[in-house]
Each structure stands twice: as C-alpha cells, then as structure tokens.
C-alpha cells in the first residue's frame, strides 16, 4: 500500500499545531500578529467553503453572505439584545446554519452552473437586504464599535490581537478536526462520491440530496462562526462583507491552496493574506494579480499548491 504523504499524517498535524502555537511569540510586531489572526479566520472560512466546493464539488457564490450573516447576527445580538459575548459565535453559527438549511433546501435541487447562479442570487438578495434595512443593520454605514470578544465569567479578554489569535487558533483547530474527520468517514466519502459521479453514488445507496443538504448546512454554520470572530475582532462590519470581492477571495484561497483537501484551504488562506499585504504597494492592481493567479492555477495546477507536494511525494516514492 502506498504510504500517505507526510502532511496527511497525524504527526504533521500535531507539528502544525505546535508551530502555530509558538509562532505569535516569535512575531514581535503587532502587524504580523494581526495578519496571523486574519489568516486563522480566513482559514476557517476557506475550510467551510471547501466542504461545498472541494468535497461536494458544487460551486457556490453565496458563501460570503453566510459569513456576513454570522458577523451581523453576532454583533446585533450582543449589542442590541445583550447576549453574552461568548455566546456570539455560537449564535452566529446557528443563525447562519438556519439560513443555510432553508436556502440549501431550495437551491440544492439544482446542480452545476445553475446552482452557482442561484447561490449568487441568494447572496445578492441577502446583501441587498442588509444594505437597505437601515433600521436594523444601519445600512451601508455598517456597524462599528462592536465589543471585542471576552469571557467575563473567566475574566478572559480578547481585545488584543495576541489574545484573539489563540481564540481563532482554537476555532481553526476545531475546523481542521471537523474537516479531517469528514474526510475519514463514510459521510465524507459520500460527498466525494456525489462530486465524482452522482448517479453511481445513488446506485450504492447514497441519498444525494440529504447528504448535500447536511454538507451545505454545516458549511454555512462554520462560515457564520467565522463571521462572528471577524466582527468582534475588527469591530467594524459593513454589507461589503457579503460582496463578491470577499466571495472571490474565498474561492481563490480554496482553489489556489487545493480544493478537496484539508491543508489546501489553510495554505491558500496564508498565501492570500501574505500576497495581499506584501503587494500592498500595487494598490488595486493586486486584484489583477490574484485573478491571474487563479487562472494559472486552474490551468496548470488544478489540484492547487498542495498538488505540487503530492506530485513530488509520488515521484520520490517511485524512484
């Protein structure tokens, strides 16, 4: 039996966790720490999108809307209704997941490009409502002065990036664990089977609609949690969160990193953040660079950056 590549092993994941735990102590500057927090949040989002795009094999343009729903739900519940802030991410996940449950029930009956367009429509509707329902969402002005994350009962305060990082890392670890267990279970195999050949999947007893519905709901709930973390960290949110620019950023992370794997989206998020910042001098030209990167990846590296490693791994083994 062919040995799995190193990054698939449990050892590699423990090593990764160790490195990411120690990393903030090596990053003496706040700016780098800020980047790392964003990387963690984007990784969670990319991992959630990967469940739909990578495992189920359906392209969705609505994912940023669920991210936005999570961010708004958490901010509004905490600021307006006095929900304890530590419950914010949980509530955000539930609410975004509930939206995903309803929208998925309607949209998942359709597959392929039509599904992508339908999710684009749902995303646009949600963004438009957020933009115009000024009484609740404050419209295009967005919500500012969102309180930073804290757990009062334990006296924990996450207003600093250095503290927030560990909270985000804990959530990311959970997201990675969910993704890994999904890959190793019959549920994940069913998703991949639906991606590879839906007709054959049905013929071996997989209820394609039910499986897709569960995947979509879990993915949207994860995006909601990510949105909540984002809102309480940056403390300002606007309807732009739900826009296509965030959506395309998430798609780039998943595709460039490597869809259908767990490490891929995490690496993709890292590459995205690193390039976004290091190319800041180029201004809006960055977007062109990202688009070019996406095109190059789709043509020459359909498996994403992670496939370079895989290819190298297989070659070394054969020699």
């Amino acid at each position: 039996m062919r040995a799995a590549p190193f990054f698939e092993s449990a050892k590699a994941w423990w090593l990764g966790l160790g490195v990411t735990l120690v990393a903030p102590f090596a990053a003496f500057n706040d700016y780098l720490l800020h980047m790392m927090v964003l990387w963690g949040i984007y990784s969670i989002l990319a991992l959630s999108l990967n469940i739909i795009v990578g495992f189920l094999g359906e392209l969705t343009f609505g994912h940023a809307a669920f991210f936005g729903i999570g961010a708004y739900a958490s901010a509004l519940l905490v600021m307006g209704l006095g929900l304890p802030i530590w419950l914010g991410p949980l509530a955000a996940g539930l609410i975004a997941g509930a939206f995903g449950l309803v929208i998925g029930y309607v949209a998942l009956r359709i597959v392929g490009p039509q599904f992508a367009i339908l999710t684009l429509g749902f995303g646009a509707i949600i963004q438009t409502i957020t933009n115009y329902w000024v009484d609740v969402t404050r419209g295009p002005m967005g919500i500012s002065q969102i309180p930073p994350f804290s757990i009062d009962a334990l006296g924990l305060d996450f207003s600093q990036a250095s503290h927030m990082y560990f909270l985000v890392l804990a959530c990311l670890t959970l997201a990675v664990y969910l993704s890994r267990t999904l890959q190793n279970s019959r549920t994940g195999r069913a998703y991949v089977a639906i991606r590879e050949n839906p007709e054959l999947a049905q013929s071996i007893g997989i209820n394609t609609f039910k499986n897709k519905w569960l995947a979509f709901t879990v993915a949207t709930a994860m995006a909601g949690v990510g949105g909540s973390l984002y809102g309480h960290y940056l403390r300002v949110i606007t309807p732009d969160l739900m826009s296509l620019s965030y959506m395309s950023a998430l798609i780039i992370m998943v595709i460039v990193g490597g869809k259908g794997t767990t490490l891929g989206p995490v690496i993709g998020a890292m590459v995205y953040i690193a390039l976004l910042e290091s190319l800041r001098a180029f201004g809006n030209l960055r977007l062109v660079i990202f688009a070019a990167m996406l095109i190059v990846c789709v043509i020459f590296l359909p498996g994403g950056l992670i496939s370079v490693w895989l290819r190298w791994h297989n070659r070394v083994r054969e020699v």
Binding site: N184, S185, A190, V192, A193, L200, S203, I204, G205, I206
Partner: protein, 266 residues
C-alpha cells in the same frame, strides 16, 4: 406463447408485475411480468430498442414505471428512489462504464461499502471505538473484493488510469462492496473480446457462489448462453419468451425477432 420455466419456488427475490413505461405515445415496455428467484442467474435479452434498458432502469428505480409494480424481497418498491433500492440490497452497474474517476481503485471500492456502515462523521468526530472497528472491517472487505475481481495489484492507481477491461471489473467490485442480494448488470460484456468475455462468465458464476442473485442485460450470446440459468426475451417492449437458454434459443418466435432466421447452437 411463453416458454415457462419451473416456478414452484415460494417467495421470489424480485417480481415485476405488469411493468409498463410510456414515453408520450411510445410504449417502451408493455405489461411485462416475471420473477427472479434467489440464487439464480437470469439473462434479459432482446434486439436493440426492445426496451431492455428501460425495464432495467425501472427495476432499480432510476425510472418510475407508468403502470405496474416492482416487488423486491417481498416489499413493494415501485415508488422508491434509486438510493432506497440500493439500501435494500439491489446493486447495479451501468451500460457506459461508471466509476469515481479521480479516486484510487481502493477508495472506489471502499466508497461502495457505504450502505453497510452505520457510523459516519459524528462517530468519527467522537472517536468512537465502533467507528474504528467498522472502518477496519470495511477496508478489509474492500481488499477482499479487489482480490476477488483481480485488481489487488492496482489498488493505489487512479480509477481513470485503468484500462477498459479493468474498469469494468472495478465497476462490479463497487457494486459487490454494497453487499447486495441482487446484482443487476447492464451489458457487462460490452466492448470485451471473447477471452475477456469467457473470464466474465467465470466471474459471474463466482459472484453467485458468494450468495448474490444476478440479472444481466446482454448482447453477447456466448456470455448469455454460458452463464444464465434462465433467459427472458423482450421484443418491442413485451416479453415473448422465457426459459432455459437452449429452449429459448430454439423458440421460433425468438429466432424470428431476435436471433435471425438461422438456428443457433449454444
């Protein structure tokens, strides 16, 4: 008109009762009745356009019949969906090779064990002992099935890289991984040379030895004659004959519509 086969067995595994399917004004299958007993190998033959594939699709619930019933294992399954039929122990292969192309041969077969497994994502998240045990069992089963179809040496290759004959074997392996009571094969010998066809006959007989009832739609007469206990002949959507292969092959009506005017020596 029909050549009757001994049907004294009490409970058939599969029954088609007055199965019909209309496409607009076209009657593709018209009031077909038959029964399949446990442990049989039955061939479904007929000239092109006779309605074999339509009948086949109704049996495994990928197409709803216009009239009639499908009774599987004593249960009326007419209104079920394809995945429900698979869950109840009916596996099928496709006329055009149908695999999970980007997965390894092993993963293809492991995916096929889906219906046998109880534990899923949630059990894996909780790291249940039962999950680990089941995963190990399924992996062992998948290995066994790969041995059985003769693909053990290619377990790490991607399914899409296999030669055609091996792909057909892998398809059967996926279907077997569901641990079916009944296996429906849609033209398993299509595109095979006589040598491969002969091996297929051997494999189908071995599948029966594993306790699986087999129904096949087939054009290759050598395969049908070599392996089937009983043959059902369909022409223009109707059953015109049924019985042991030698009898059916000599049945004048069958010779007229299907085998041409010459007598066939099986």
């Amino acid at each position: 008109m029909c050549v009757k086969f001994d049907m004294s067995h009490p409970a058939p595994l599969l029954q088609a009762q007055q199965l019909s399917r209309h496409f607009g004004g076209l009657v593709a299958v018209n009031a077909v009745d038959f029964e399949i007993q446990s442990g049989e190998i039955v061939g479904l033959i007929g000239p092109n356009g006779a309605g074999k594939t339509t009948l086949f699709n109704m049996l495994c619930a990928s197409m709803a019949p216009t009239h009639g019933k499908v009774i599987f294992n004593g249960e009326d399954c007419t209104t079920l969906s394809a995945h429900d039929m698979a869950q109840r122990g009916m596996a099928r292969t496709f006329q055009i090779t149908s695999l999970f192309p980007h997965l390894s041969v092993f993963d293809n077969v492991l995916t096929g064990t889906y219906r046998q497994q109880q534990t899923g994502w949630w059990a894996c998240i909780r790291h249940q002992a039962r999950y680990k045990q089941e995963e190990a069992e399924m992996a062992a089963q998948a290995c066994g099935i790969l041995e059985f179809v003769g693909l053990a040496g290619r377990r790490d290759d991607l399914a899409m890289t296999l030669p055609y004959g091996d792909q057909r074997k892998l398809e059967i392996a996926i279907a077997l991984a569901t641990h079916p009571k009944l296996l429906l094969l849609d033209e398993p010998a299509a595109g095979m040379n006589p040598d491969e066809g002969a091996k297929l006959v051997g494999m189908i007989k071995d599948i029966r030895q594993r306790g699986v009832t087999v129904v096949l739609v087939e054009h290759h007469m050598k395969v049908v004659m070599g392996v089937c206990d009983r043959v059902i002949v369909i022409a223009s959507g109707e059953k015109i004959a049924e019985g042991v292969p030698q009898h059916v092959a000599n049945h004048p009506e069958v010779i007229r519509v299907y085998l041409g005017r010459e007598k066939v020596h099986a």
